[in-house]
């Protein structure tokens, strides 16, 4: 186990290097830069000085090395758009907002998805199963950018129950959480249902039934315990998606999270901010994957990593 962990951690660094190098090269290859979309075109002299000021006139490799050394000290340079802020500051301010939203949606997805999945599996082949399966499919196909505006129209503009946008109070949280989490709740429900049905084919489940355990106990104690494994595996990528991929929801509800920052940065070709955020996202994603693999070994005693 420890050896496996060390091996994975060793892979962490090269993986991060590849990702940063790729994103670094991509943003640099593109013509156009952070300075040339401003309203008044800059004189060549000013542009040259600006480039020199932010080391954009150096060879690519040197710029990349500069970025790497800075990144080691958590210094990703200044944002080229919002020049009074450093990239680190922007991430530090926006990431917690996205993290809260992501975690809430994560809880919502699990809290809604697991019971629905369990219910449909327990009622397999009856009408409740068919209707709920249809609901699950519709949930899986309802992206946040359809659900969010409809929720806003109905709940905030018609019924005036919840605020339509912004961030701060507890009532601001409800709509974005639902809009972000519903599609994942659908995926969890479906995954859990399939896995429950597959596990209940096992012989030890037959034994549990044969010795007279009530069905609810069989499902909860024996089937669900094993059937939760694929859900756990999926939790890693799901959490990563939720933490990093709430661009649209943040956009609709005007939430100052890192997703919104990233989209603006990509559109403005704000090199330093793009690369900084990609690095940040990559670290989250890789560590979550690692964490899930470790969790997997802890839950399922049959798995031993070498």
């Amino acid at each position: 186990m420890i050896r496996y962990l060390v091996k994975r951690l060793c892979l962490f660094v090269p993986l991060l290097l590849v990702i940063t190098l790729l994103s670094f090269c991509l943003v640099k290859i593109a013509p156009g830069g952070p300075f040339d979309s401003e309203r008044a075109p800059l004189t060549p002299e000013v542009e040259r000085q600006l480039k020199a000021r932010y080391y954009l006139d150096e060879p690519l490799l040197k710029q990349y090395m500069r970025f790497l050394f800075g990144a080691l000290q958590l210094d990703f340079g200044p944002s080229l758009r919002y020049r009074s802020h450093s990239v680190y500051e922007i991430i530090r301010e926006s990431a917690p907002v996205s993290a809260i939203l992501g975690l809430l949606a994560f809880g919502f997805a699990l809290g809604l998805g697991l019971p629905i999945g369990f219910y449909t599996a327990a009622r397999r082949g009856r009408w409740q199963d068919y209707t709920s399966s249809l609901i699950i499919i519709v949930m899986m196909c309802t992206p946040g950018f359809i659900l969010a505006p409809i929720l806003v129209l109905v709940l905030s503009l018609k019924l005036k129950l919840l605020p339509p946008a912004l961030w701060g109070n507890i009532e601001h949280v409800v709509l974005p959480t639902i809009a972000l989490g519903l599609i994942y709740a659908g995926r969890i429900a479906r995954l859990f249902r399939g896995s429950l049905l597959e596990v209940s084919q096992n012989e030890f489940i037959l034994l549990a039934r044969a010795k007279g355990l009530p069905e609810s106990k069989v499902l909860l104690r024996h089937v669900a315990r094993l059937a939760i494994l694929p859900v756990v595996t999926y939790c890693g990528p799901m959490l990563a998606d939720l933490l990093t991929g709430s661009f649209v929801i943040e956009n609709i509800f005007q939430i100052p999270g890192s997703g919104m920052m990233f989209v603006h940065a990509a559109l403005n070709s704000d090199y330093t901010l793009v690369v900084g955020l990609v690095t940040f996202y990559a670290i989250i994603l890789i560590s979550l994957n690692l964490f899930v693999d470790v969790c997997y070994a802890v839950i399922d005693p049959r798995i031993r990593y070498e």
Binding site: L15, C141, I252, V274
Partner: protein, 328 residues
């Protein structure tokens, strides 16, 4: 050689029987059939509506008026009309008929989904076949690359790819064909989406090729002196194509979803072209506390939902049919 030809006929018959049985399994699956019918209706409307608009002016005055009223880009003074008999989905901020715009948008979304998934199929099949067939160190390296790409944040890569390569590709394209400039966003979008969606396909195909290449008929082909490329193209790829196509049908809805997501953010299809995602985005822009224009969001949203649900049902149905057939 004499024995060769009757065998060929036999193989063909087997193939058609297998096809029939998977088709039968698919048809027995009611949700999948429902999805296929919905999809067929959607595609039918997408194809016939533009044709109707094209040929309407040939039928005198009324036809001309019809073609003008329902042209997806024709501006009019009827802004923000609620759905009615004349405008089934209402009209938008510029008085354009929303039904017509939704039909064209659905067409674009389907086109992006199909071609993007096709690109992912080509890359995935090529990558998986080469890795599985070559084996050894080449296989290890190629699959490690897939592992690395798996841990890249996909949607972020697409955003970086689309925003950066657009200007690059656009300039190059405009130098060759001056009119192609408007198509660049469309092309980079398809290529970008295809380029991040092939990983699962490559893994599935590789696993298939690994089990295929040890079967006797491959050995037979080798003994007969077939070259590697002949074995790959004549024997391996035709055998993995069925699975590849099934996973292709599962890739299409995810690419449609990605595309509408990006178009929603303004990173996808650009005006005057519209996809379902950008239509919903236009509707969201019109949200205000004074007057509610619900149809601007609900109509394209409902069509996107129907499209995604039917695509998913068809994809699931074909996968189930294939898997059941292989188990029995």
């Amino acid at each position: 050689m004499n024995k060769g030809s009757p065998k060929l006929v036999n193989a063909d018959q087997c193939g058609s029987m297998e096809k029939r049985s998977s088709l039968g399994l698919f048809l027995a699956n009611k949700p999948a059939c429902l999805g296929a019918i919905t999809l067929a209706i959607l595609i039918g409307i997408v194809i016939t509506w533009p044709i109707a608009l094209k040929i309407a002016p040939l039928f005198g005055q009324e036809g001309q008026a019809f073609a003008i009223t329902y042209h997806p880009l024709a501006l009019s003074d009827d802004q923000f009309q609620a759905p009615s008999v004349k405008h089934w989905f209402g009209t938008d901020v510029h008085g354009r008929d929303l039904f017509s715009r939704v039909v064209y948008g659905t067409g674009i979304s389907i086109l992006v989904g199909i071609t993007g998934a096709l690109i992912s199929l080509i890359i995935g099949v090529a990558w998986g076949t080469v890795a599985g067939y070559a084996g050894g160190r080449i296989d290890t390296i190629m699959m490690r690359i897939v592992d690395v790409l798996y841990s890249m944040p996909g949607i972020i890569v697409v955003i970086v790819l689309v925003t950066t390569s657009e200007r690059f590709v656009g300039d190059k394209l405009a130098a060759i064909i001056p009119t192609a400039k408007t198509m660049t966003r469309f092309l980079t979008l398809i290529i970008g989406l295809g380029a991040v969606s092939w990983l699962t396909m490559a893994r599935i195909i590789r696993a298939q090729v690994l089990s295929l290449k040890n079967l006797p008929f491959i050995d037979a082909a080798k003994v007969l002196g077939a070259s590697h490329s002949r074995i790959i193209f004549r024997h391996i790829i035709p055998n993995v194509l069925g699975i590849a196509i099934v996973y292709w049908t599962l890739t299409v809805p995810s690419i449609v979803l990605y595309e509408s997501f990006l178009s929603y953010l303004g990173l996808g299809i650009q005006p005057p072209m519209a996809s379902l995602g950008s239509l919903i985005a236009e509707g969201v822009e019109q949200i205000n506390p004074v007057k509610v224009y619900w149809w601007l969001i609900v109509c394209p949203g409902a069509v996107l939902l129907a499209l995604l649900v039917s695509l998913n049902l068809v994809g699931d149905g074909s996968r189930d049919a294939l898997e059941t057939k292989r188990l029995t």
